[in-house]
Every structure is written in structure tokens, then in C-alpha cells.
């Protein structure tokens, strides 16, 4: 659905985005993570045909960005929630959506139905006749999301949609995004929120001008290693430690009858470890695998570039 190849954007001699190559499938939620100034907004703007690319190529559906005729077609099938919501404060929530519906050539019935559907889903239907200017940040954010969906786009670009939202509103928005996924929409989500990305994204790209890593949340967590198995025993003794040493595992520490073993692949190795302990007469209380988190992976990748 979205295909970027060596996509690059320079502002004068500042390179904002360099050699970006990635692919997002139809119906996928793609999370774009990166520190401030990483180039997330710049990438979204290029993909939405708002700013030109410097080099490389990108395709949205089958249309090429940077080609004037295709730009028009791309704009018809995408919806954008920019980092600044940009509503018309002087117009009511309903009129804000209706204006956009008209720009996208939606019929009157289509506009009515969709406005009602999305405002109800986002809990704003009762406020439809109130000026958007009086809305709270969270309500504005939700209204901007409804606006981006009014023409039922295939692809939705969201630039930090839950920033500034209280936990409950953030959850409404997240649940709503998951709801859209059920409708087979492709979602491109810029975010700083690692937890959010981990919870709702199928695939995550970590950007810091260059794309540092891309993969499923699980793959990214696994990619930096550093996993451990922690085993709590009634009693640790030398027989058990010697039995474990024969297995040629990573570093083993013992503390308060708790063994911590560094492992590459705990799922494969735990069986042998448990066997060895039981064979040596140990009584196991609990076995826990500690993985590196997405946060560990993110911090490691982002620090590497500095």
C-alpha cells in the first residue's frame, strides 16, 4: 500500500530524512517512532504530497508521489490528521466535517451518514453544533480524526494523534484506530509513545533521519538481545550450579536462591536448564523470562546514531 525507496528530503543543506526504504501492507498499522526532529512529520508530508521529495521514490497504492497527476489521485484516497489539528474554530464541529466532505466530492447522504457515524463513534455527536474553537484539545484531536475519515480513505496518516490527550481520551483514540483496522484501513501512525506503538502497531519503524530498524514489535524487542531467564529455587547449591555450567550458557548469577541466566533464545534453552536443575535435585518455584523491551531497543538504536 505504501512503498518508499531511498526517499530523501533536504531542507537546504539540512537532511531531514535520508534514504528511507520501507513497505506498509494494506490493512496494517504502521508505527513510525523517532525522537524530536527525526523526520516523522517530514516523511508524512512527503507521502501526503504536501512537500516535494528531494530524491528517491514512494508509491501510495499505485500512484507515484511527486507526479502531479498522481498527487491528485493520492489525495483522494488518503486522510491526514496533521500534528496541528487545524480546525476552523469559527465553524461548528458539523460544519468543519461537512466542508471537508464537500471538498472530497462526497454526496449529501454520504456526508450526513459519515458525519453522524464518526461523531457518534468518537463521542462528539452531542457537540455537533458547537464551535470547534470551544473544544478541548482532546475533542479537537478527535474531530480532526473524524475529518480525515469523512471520505472513507484507504490510508490514514496520523501525526501524533494522542499527544496532549488524557489517558482516557488516548485510549478512545487507540481503540478507534483498532476499530479502523477492522475496516481494513491502512494506518500510518507517527508517535513518541512506545507503549502505544507496541500495543496497536503491526509493524514499527524507528527513524532518526535514517530508518534505524523496522519490524514487528516482537522482532524489534528481540533484535537487540539481552534476554534473561530468572529461576527462583527453594535452595541453590553447588550441585545445581555445576550441572548448569555443563550446559555452556551465558553468564549465571545467583542471589537469594534466585538464578539469573543470560540467554540468546530462552524459549529453546529453558527446557534444558529446567531439566538440569531438576536432575540435580533442585526445587523450582518459578521460571520467568525477562526480555528486552521495545524501549530498550528504541533507546539503543536512537543512541547509536548520536
Amino acid at each position: 500500500m505504501i512503498d518508499a525507496e531511498n526517499l530523501t528530503k533536504k531542507f537546504g543543506n539540512l537532511t531531514a530524512v535520508e534514504d528511507l526504504t520501507f513497505h506498509v501492507d494494506e490493512g496494517e498499522i504502521f508505527g513510525f517512532l523517532g525522537p524530536n526532529g527525526a523526520g516523522k512529520t517530514t516523511t508524512v508530508r512527503m507521502l501526503c504530497c504536501l512537500i516535494s521529495k528531494t530524491s528517491g521514490t514512494a508509491k501510495i497504492a499505485d500512484y507515484e508521489i511527486g507526479n502531479d497527476a498522481d498527487s491528485m489521485k493520492i489525495r483522494k484516497i488518503i486522510g491526514l490528521v496533521p500534528d496541528n489539528v487545524g480546525l476552523y474554530d469559527g465553524l461548528s464541529a458539523y460544519d468543519n466535517l461537512d466542508f471537508y466532505g464537500k471538498l472530497y466530492d462526497c454526496t449529501e447522504t454520504q456526508r450526513k451518514e459519515n458525519i453522524e457515524k464518526f461523531l457518534k463513534m468518537l463521542g462528539l455527536w452531542d457537540k455537533r453544533d458547537v464551535s470547534a474553537g470551544t473544544f478541548s484539545k482532546g475533542m479537537k484531536q478527535k474531530l480532526a480524526i473524524a475529518r480525515a475519515l469523512i471520505h472513507e480513505p484507504e490510508i490514514l496518516f496520523l501525526d501524533e494523534p494522542t499527544v496532549n490527550l488524557d489517558p482516557e481520551s488516548a485510549k478512545t483514540v487507540r481503540d478507534f484506530i483498532l476499530e479502523l483496522k477492522k475496516e481494513k484501513k491502512t494506518i500510518f501512525l507517527n508517535t513518541h509513545n512506545l507503549d502505544e506503538a507496541q500495543r496497536i502497531c503491526d509493524k514499527i519503524g524507528i527513524l532518526n533521519t535514517k530508518l534505524m530498524a523496522i519490524g514487528t514489535p516482537k522482532e524489534l524487542e528481540g533484535s537487540i538481545g539481552g534476554r534473561k531467564t530468572v529461576i527462583q529455587l527453594d535452595q541453590v547449591n553447588d550441585t545445581i550450579l555445576n550441572a548448569l555450567k555443563k550446559l555452556s550458557l551465558g553468564n549465571i548469577t545467583s542471589d537469594n536462591n534466585k538464578l539469573t541466566i543470560d540467554l540468546e533464545n530462552p524459549e529453546k534453552e529453558n527446557w534444558a536448564i529446567v531439566n538440569a536443575i531438576v536432575g540435580a535435585g533442585g526445587h523450582i518455584q518459578t521460571v520467568t523470562v525477562l526480555g528486552s523491551t521495545l524501549e530498550d531497543a528504541y533507546l539503543k538504536l536512537v543512541r547509536e546514531t548520536k
Partner: protein, 245 residues
Amino acid sequence: MRLRKSWIIAAKDLKVIIRKRTVLYTVVMLPLIISILFPVVIELSGQKSGGIPAAYLPVLLSAFAFFYVIIPAIIPTPIASYSIVGEKVEKSLEPLLATPITDGEILLGKSIAAFIPSIAATYAGAAIFMVLMDSLTYSKLGYLYYPNWGMGIILLLLAPLAATLSIEMNVIASSRVSDVRTASQLGALMFIPFVGIYVAGEIGIITLDTNTLLIIAAIMAALVLVLFYISTATFRREEILTKWK
């Protein structure tokens, strides 16, 4: 360019302007004041000596009429600079530019939104002016001075052209400069040449008869085309999006 799309934008802007009374008031105020003020001046001046002599009246009246070229050159400025720079200030330009609409359609829409209230206010002012003037001068002149050919040319040709020129200047100014105030100040400069023509008429360098008015109209029409070209060439969405603060 699809007119329908421009009209959607214009209708939205008109709705916002009508709700935002302050902009609307500035548009209505000037023509209203002038249209009432001039008849009052005619009525009051030289009252003791029996009023302005009938022979001078046509000279004065045709000079006053030229104000209906100056007014539409002034009043679109608040709307035009509000509607274009306003989109940027409210940050609403980015989502708007992400919709399937061309630069030309946006600019035309904004221009229509500034044109309609400006011309409507000018015409309403002119109607008040003509009725008041006729009723004040009929007894002296023995005929109704308005409507006449000069006023016809002014209202049907020069006023729309002046409004269009002013709007184009505003569009160009607001897509080149980075803040609201500079844009509206530059846009407001548009009325100066018209004041120049008026003064030239008053001091007798030119006579503002129908022939002269038609020549002025032709020059303005040519300028409208030139400025239209410049305004579409200078509106670059990427620059406006990324450079405006």
C-alpha cells in the same frame, strides 16, 4: 480548474466571515459612512449663501462618484488577508492542502469570498448615495443626476475591476510574506493609485468623463490579467506550508 470547488471554499469563508462580525463590520462601515457623508456635505456646504450653485453640482457629483472605485479597492483587504493568512495562522492550511484541490481553486475561492461582500457593500453604499444625492439636488438641477453613464461604468466595470486588483494584490502579498500584518499592509497599498487618479481629476490633469473612465477600465483589466498570472505563479504550497510561521 473546477469552479464548484472554489465555490465550496468561498462559501465556507463567507460563513466564517459572517460569524466573525468584526471583519464584516470593517467591510460595511467605509461605504456606509462615505455614502451618507457626501450627501450631508452637499446639503450643509454654503447653506447661508443659498447652497452650491447648480453649475458646480455635476463637477462635484462626478468627483464623488470616483470614490466608488476607491472603496472597492480598499475594503477587500481585511477579508482577503484574513482568509488566506488566517488559514495559515489557524494551521488549517495543511489539512486543506491534503485534499484533492488545486492551488488555483483555493485562490479563486478565497478571491470570491473577498469579492462578494466587497462588491455588495459598495453597491449598497452607491445605491444609498445616489438616492440621497438625487433627492437633494433634483430641485436645483431640474433632473435626476443619477443614474448616469459615468456611474454605470464605475459600478459595473471599474468597481469590480478595482476589487479584483485589490484582492490579487492581497493574494500575492499574503503568499510572499510571512506574517499577517505585513500582508494586509501591503495589500492595503492598492488604493493609492486610485487616489492618485482621483486627485489628478480634481486638479484638472485629467477629466473623469466616460472616455477616460473606459480607458482606465481597459488598463485595469490588463493589470488584472497580469496580476492573476503573478498570483498563481507565486503561490507555492510547499513554501507557504513550510516557511510561514
